[in-house]
């Protein structure tokens, strides 16, 4: 795509942070409106916003540094969003009190499969140790994943990207799986999204139902905590075996 040199040079000036924030928000609002009319997996706002912003950044020859300068506050909002999980969890406290053993089983199974499958698959495909370690924490939400990757010796930014791709893939995959798996309980439907696709999955689970949404949120947070606790142990094992 040919780029007007005038436009390109202005974009590298002082106001480009504002431009990237406005572009991201604008594309997001537009794709959300499209998704509300045509709810298909390929109209997912996360997918479309990512594709369109990436294409725009590529055609304007922008770097990640320039892009993130204007949009890091959006990533920072993940913090308050994590705090916000307290409300749905509190409102579903009766269900949690009743079913906590099931939730613990689900989280233990999910965390084991997540770490085990990433490691085995990455080894089978012959990926380098750096990449392999960055792939380990992809089932947990970004703030946890970056801490985890640092602990076991992966690359935090790459880990964050793997986390996002997992969310993207998982939110769509989960929707298909719901049609195929004979799941009667909202617990299983919620745990599927929360464990497999963290934040993106939780947002999708909230669309499936209120109970599914809060189970997914709870499972996501507990899985994140579990991985932060497991990371030092895993890091120790890695250093003794590698």
């Amino acid at each position: 795509m040919p780029v007007d040199p005038m436009l390109a040079s202005t974009l590298h000036g002082d106001w480009h942070p504002l431009f990237w924030a406005a572009a991201t928000l604008g594309v997001y609002l537009a794709t959300r409106a499209i998704h509300q009319r045509h709810a298909r997996w390929w109209t997912s706002p996360l997918l479309l916003t990512w594709l369109l912003c990436f294409a725009l950044a590529l055609s304007l020859h922008a770097t990640y540094g320039e892009y993130i300068k204007g949009t890091h506050w959006l990533v920072a909002l993940l913090g308050p969003a994590t705090v916000a999980f307290a409300t749905p969890i509190y409102e579903q406290r009766a269900m949690i009190r009743k079913h906590w053993p099931i939730l613990v089983v689900g989280i233990a199974a999910g965390t084991t499969i997540a770490i085990g499958s990433s490691w085995i698959l990455a080894s089978l495909l012959g990926l380098s140790p750096d990449l392999r370690l960055s792939l380990l924490p992809r089932s947990v939400s970004t703030p946890f994943a970056m801490a985890f990757a640092e602990d076991v010796g992966g690359i935090p930014e790459l880990a964050a990207t793997c986390v996002v791709i997992t969310g993207l893939v998982g939110a769509s995959l989960g929707e298909l799986l719901l049609k195929w798996l004979p799941l009667r309980s909202s617990l299983a439907r919620g745990a599927l999204f929360g464990m497999g696709a963290h934040g993106a999955g939780t947002a999708k689970a909230r669309q499936v139902g209120a109970e599914e949404g809060s189970v997914a949120g709870l499972v996501m947070v507990l899985a994140g905590l579990a991985s932060v606790l497991v990371a030092p142990v895993l890091a120790f094992c890695m250093h003794t075996t590698l």
Partner: protein, 129 residues
């Protein structure tokens, strides 16, 4: 006065979001000074949950703001993915391999988690009743 705060907080979504940001901010500062290995947001969630459980805070003061933030959570992930701009080497066979690991891994995690929870649920409900 207390009554007015109550009404104002339970109706204004933006004020609730500001409140959630304030909690996160304070906890992030705490994590930084004490060098805790857990993200500030998680501490903030634990604190808010504790306050709610003690009855110090009413959940309507935060429920609308929380729903708003959680509805748009997908957007907050987008900027981090742009890190790929600085890694053109991943648009290759290695990138495809990573994608394959993520795809198959996520599928296994989802099926494994959902089935173990479902089996557990059915077993427990049969033996309870």
């Amino acid at each position: 006065m207390l009554r007015r705060t109550n009404i104002l907080l339970s109706r204004n979504r933006l004020l609730q979001v500001v409140g959630l940001i304030a909690i996160w901010w304070a906890c992030e500062a705490l994590v930084q000074t004490l060098r805790l290995p857990v993200p500030g947001g998680v501490i903030g969630m634990a604190v808010l949950l504790l306050l709610l459980a003690c009855g110090r805070i009413r959940s309507v003061w935060f429920s609308r703001g929380s729903a708003g933030l959680l509805d748009h959570m997908l957007l907050f992930f987008v900027p981090a993915t742009m890190a790929l701009l600085d890694h053109p080497e991943l648009f290759s066979l290695t990138g495809l391999k990573i994608l394959a690991v993520i795809l198959v891994g996520t599928l296994l995690v989802m099926v494994g988690t959902a089935l173990s929870v479902e089996v557990c649920f059915r077993w427990l409900s049969r033996h309870a009743g």
